[in-house]
């Protein structure tokens, strides 16, 4: 059932291999590390298929790595989408998003952060490039105070079709490439690893579900590109094996629980402006924690069995 696109994989992988890997050394994981996925809908959507997380886990089955996906649709390097109605504000100022993110990163205390921005910013065109680079730089500086291992992931091109005018896509892709380059420059400048999805996904179509967001197949390819660029060890079982599927399903279950914990329906009552209207509701998201731990334990034991 996992689609006809798999046949295209070798071609993509070939392209990846031809792309000289820019990272100076292999990305290593120590025992019990915590990884955070940060970015726009690229990561928010990723929690529903768990491909990237599965791929990394399969390279390090005995390392007990935990993952927290805090991608947020519509977000940018300024973390504008993360602002919330808190502390009396009905809607926070977009500028407060950055502080909220900093706070959250500090609480999560990750060992590695994968960062995927640039899509939303690219609609500011050429004129927005400087702001993007500066914003990304500021973001990296903030993140580096909490975590030394940062991995930047590039934008990828829009795909033709889906009723979107062709000329529009051509235009956007020129811009998306510029933003990918800007991301790469920041990575090089600051000495962080960079994953080039743009080149990989420029080779062929069929990996998005709407022209701009990856399908589950697309995520599998993206995971392969990430693993390749970071020179991760080969997965201990095949990515399309039954074992891997089982792990992936458990990861998705864990991710879903975490989403309800972190961004519950009724956020306004639980964390926000309407907080004092309810008593019971506020307690509930915290009660999800043990279920998250349960799934995490399940993932670990599945990985250990490999």
């Amino acid at each position: 059932m996992r689609s006809n696109h798999t046949a295209k994989l070798p071609l993509l992988l070939l392209v990846m291999l031809l792309n000289a890997c820019n990272s100076e050394e292999v990305l290593n994981f120590k025992q019990d590390e915590k990884v955070v996925f940060l970015g726009n809908a690229f990561f928010e959507n990723a929690f529903e298929n768990g491909e990237i997380e599965t791929r990394i886990s399969l390279s390090f089955p005995d390392k007990n790595i935990t993952f927290r996906n805090i991608g947020w649709s519509g977000d940018n390097v300024f973390a504008h989408a993360r602002t919330r109605a808190r502390g009396g504000g009905r809607f926070g100022d977009p500028d407060h998003g950055f502080g909220i993110l900093a706070q959250q990163i500090s609480e999560l205390n990750p060992d590695k952060i994968f960062i995927a921005y640039g899509f939303n910013e690219s609609f500011e065109d050429e004129a927005g490039l400087d702001a993007y680079s500066n914003g990304l730089n500021k973001l990296l500086e903030m993140l580096s105070q909490h975590c030394s291992e940062l991995v930047l992931i590039s934008t990828f091109p829009m795909e033709q079709g889906f009723g979107i005018p062709t000329a529009h896509i051509t235009n956007r892709n020129q811009m998306l490439e510029k933003y990918a380059v800007a991301t790469k420059e920041q990575a090089l400048k600051s000495g962080y690893r960079y994953v080039d999805l743009f080149t990989a996904f420029s080779q062929e179509n069929g990996y998005t579900r709407n022209g701009i967001h990856l399908s589950a197949d697309g995520y599998r390819v993206a995971a392969a590109v990430i693993a390749n660029d970071l020179e991760l060890p080969a997965p201990v079982v095949k990515i399309d094996s039954e074992k891997a599927n089982e792990i992936r399903n458990t990861i998705v279950k864990k991710n879903t629980l975490f989403f309800h914990r972190w961004r519950p329906r009724n956020d306004a009552f639980v964390y926000g402006e309407r907080k004092d209207e309810q008593r019971i509701a506020q307690e509930e998201p915290a009660q999800i924690e043990p279920f998250i731990s349960q799934q995490e334990a399940a993932i670990q034991s599945l990985l250990m069995e490999l």
């Binding site: 959507n45 649709s73 502390g87 009905r90 579900r209 329906r265 004092d276 279920f291």
Partner: protein, 999 residues
Amino acid sequence: MIRIINRKLILVALICLLAPWSSAQNATYRAFEDLNSIDPPNLEKELASFSLLDGFEISLYAATPMIEKPVQMNFDSDGRLWVCGSHIYPQLNVNEEPSDQIIVLEDTDNDGVADKSSIFYDKLIIPGGVLPDNQGGAYVANGDKLIHLSDTDGDGKADESEVLLSGFGTEDTHHTLHRLGWGPGGKMYLLQGYYISSHVETAYGPRHLNGGGLWTYDVDTRRLEIFTKGYINPWGHAVSYWGQSFESDGAGTGFGHSFPNAVFRASPGESQSLPALTPKSPKASGIEIISGKHFPPSWTGDIITNDFRANITDRYSLEKEGSSYKAKLEPTFLRSSHKSFRPVDLAMGPDGALYIADWYSPVIQHGEVDFRDERRDHQHGRIWRITAKGRPLLEKPDYKGSSINELLELLKAEENWVRLMAKQTLKIRDSEYVMVAIDQWVKALDPQDSNYEHHCLEALWTVQTLNLIDAALLRLVMKSTNAGARAAAARVLYYWNEKVPGALDLLQEAAQDDDASVRREAITALSQFSSTEAFDIALLAYSDNMDASYSFALRQTCRMLSKYWLTSLLENAISTKTDDSAWLFALMSTEDPRAAQPLIDLFKQSEKPDPEILAVLGRLANPEQLNFLTDMVSSPGNQHTNMAATGLLTAASERSVFPDENKTEALQQLFRSTKDDDVAIACALTGHWKMEEFTDQLKLNLRREHVSYSVNRSAADALAMIGTGDIGDFLRQTIDQDISVNTTKLAVYALVKIDLEQGIEAIANTLTREMDEESIRYLIRQIIRREGAFRALSHDLEGKTIPPQTAMHAIRIVQVSDREGVEVLMAALANAGNVAIESNDSNYQQNTVALLAKIKDGDAVNGKTVYLRPELACVSCHKIKGEGLTDIGPDLGSIGASAPADYIIESLLEPSKKIKEGYKSSTITTVDGDFYQGAVSFEDANKIIIKTAAGSEVSIQKSKIKSRETSKMSMMPSGLVETLPEEEFIDLLKYLTELGVSQ
């Protein structure tokens, strides 16, 4: 010794009188029964509870277990009714799997009763909307996502789920994405409510929407756009015969007329908004427009909406007024005496009947009643069907079996849904054939036919639905003899805009149309062009006599196009004409600092300049430009002195921007004025500008008698702002001299700001005098948010004697403040006043229960007279169905229908326990030490405006805010009903619990 009787103690006493303790347990049970009269669900009883307007009949179409609790419903082209529902609402349980359903209902034998029900999908969390795609699948609003479900193997169950859009906010489950429907031009319309922040990524860029709004989504091109913004609980959208949109609001404004770029109340960051058509109406859920042959012809075009709180379905007639409409409430259509009847959605069905989705629950919303309150119903739902007696039902057209030409003929139908379904079916056909057929069909239409104009418009909408463009057809409809058609064609141009050759010529004509609604649509369409020329054309539509919708549309277009025209103007590429009020309107609309210089030029050039410009300059001008205002103020006898000074004050107080010249001269002139208003502004400016040379003027004006309070107050403010030299000494002397209560209060107010310690000492001294409650409250309010102030005041009270009355009042005020040091201060006050504080641990629940049992014996008529008593002050803050002095508190027009009695009792006794949505107050402390409490009425990046309990609005610069929190304290003072004798309290409760309940 005087006893301070705590309000809870009164209740304990009440209970003793009311209920023998021995039967308290039984009373609990009975009272809760009384409380909501929760009858077990019984369809026959509910049916019998309806009273319906003569000439109509109501019957049951479907009920649980055939459906979930219904949220939204939509018919498909096969006549099947798709219903999304939720037993999970208001909140998913911890670790619960999503299981809300989409159900498809069918009436296979056409007897008006659904006889087949199938679950299409059951993995949802509180879906807010469902819209069938007429190809076996459906679009569903599922929290943060819009998804499309398809049934690829035709077994009537969804087997594929595709995410179309994600990133809609999840803050509040009764506001998340909801209500899906098709517009006449083929776009999908979707709603979101107030607490939602959406950040949706699309191929055309991210779309951000804070607060309520109506979205449009183009399924074919995947384009998502904001149609209108605002409303707190937008809860329905319907489109009229001529394509105009109406939105209902479930937060007490009824419904309004919507068009692109329109903004309604409560849209974050928007400085202006449009009123609804029925501003005094109760909350309205769902909206439908009557059409078709089954309902009486006189009903065609009428609006039906639900007052879900009062268990009522209402009808309004519409009449064109200017560029918009006016609405009139007609006799009640349907009402139920059954408290669980909650009409939430409406739809005209394929048989011409009106269908009502009944959420069925005694409890509504989820703020007032706990998420997990057992009185919530999670199981039952109904769909009712209303038919007109003696009028034949309609046959459903066979859309799928019809040829393209037959479908085009259906565009002539009277029924809005038939025409809509015909277009949706044509969309699935081969568009090349459809386009050829449309061309022929339009040519063959008889221009003498009284509906010819509308038929042509439907053809145009069909082309729009196909996502194609037909400029010739557009031109034809733009030149229609019918204004409704011309307006609708201009709306099509809003979407096709620059893709139509000669579009601006068409809009130039439309902008000068005889009909105001056509001009309004032309103005709105022009906002989608990118040129100065489009702006020039929009300005042609300006007149001195514009209605609210019209002028709002023009304002929006001026703002949206300002990146073209204002830029050209500043580059001198175009020039304003003197005395041109249209230009003035455009410049003032922008709220853009770059407009300041052109506004000054316009003022200078004009023979009779509009003084409003000067006020606007206060919001936009830079220091150099403000000199224009100081020049004016310093020249003796200038007729615009007051307006110019107001502008200067706005600049200073809202933006901290000051002129750099002529400040002394300007103040000298202002202080010389005989008008209080001028002097008050002079004082304020002295403070903001820190002009110490005028300190003596301030001292004088603080103590001046026989002038307006604003002069004294302004002087006090200014003294505090300057605060240097001997000002502190002067204030202490003023307080000691006790010239008048007002002067003393103001001197304390200023002293606290300059030197907290001395200010507190002065308060302690002042409390020893005889004083009214309001003054005591005023003094304490000055220090209530200051750190350590309560302890300091306690210390200063040591050894002092204060009047017992003062001690009592002060204790009560302090007690509810919830600040650090409360207990110490209460003790100090009690000691100084020689009074005692009675603490208690009364059983609140039992009090409520006993009161509840008594309500039924209350006298509502007498309750009303109690309510109206000035000393209870209910009327000074609350309105009832729009009637009243201010809207500081919520409208109580249907409080009895919407809130359980225990909630009402609690709100009266402990106002801060549950604060109504939208009436929460914020407390703000500024870096200057000012403290404000009130409801936020406006907020943008730079300022925040709060409405205080006294009803006045205060604007605070964000840069000056030190701390800000949502107050746990209600703006309603506690203890208002404390002094009421038991009987009167019961009568008041009886009156309130019956408000809005159908009799």
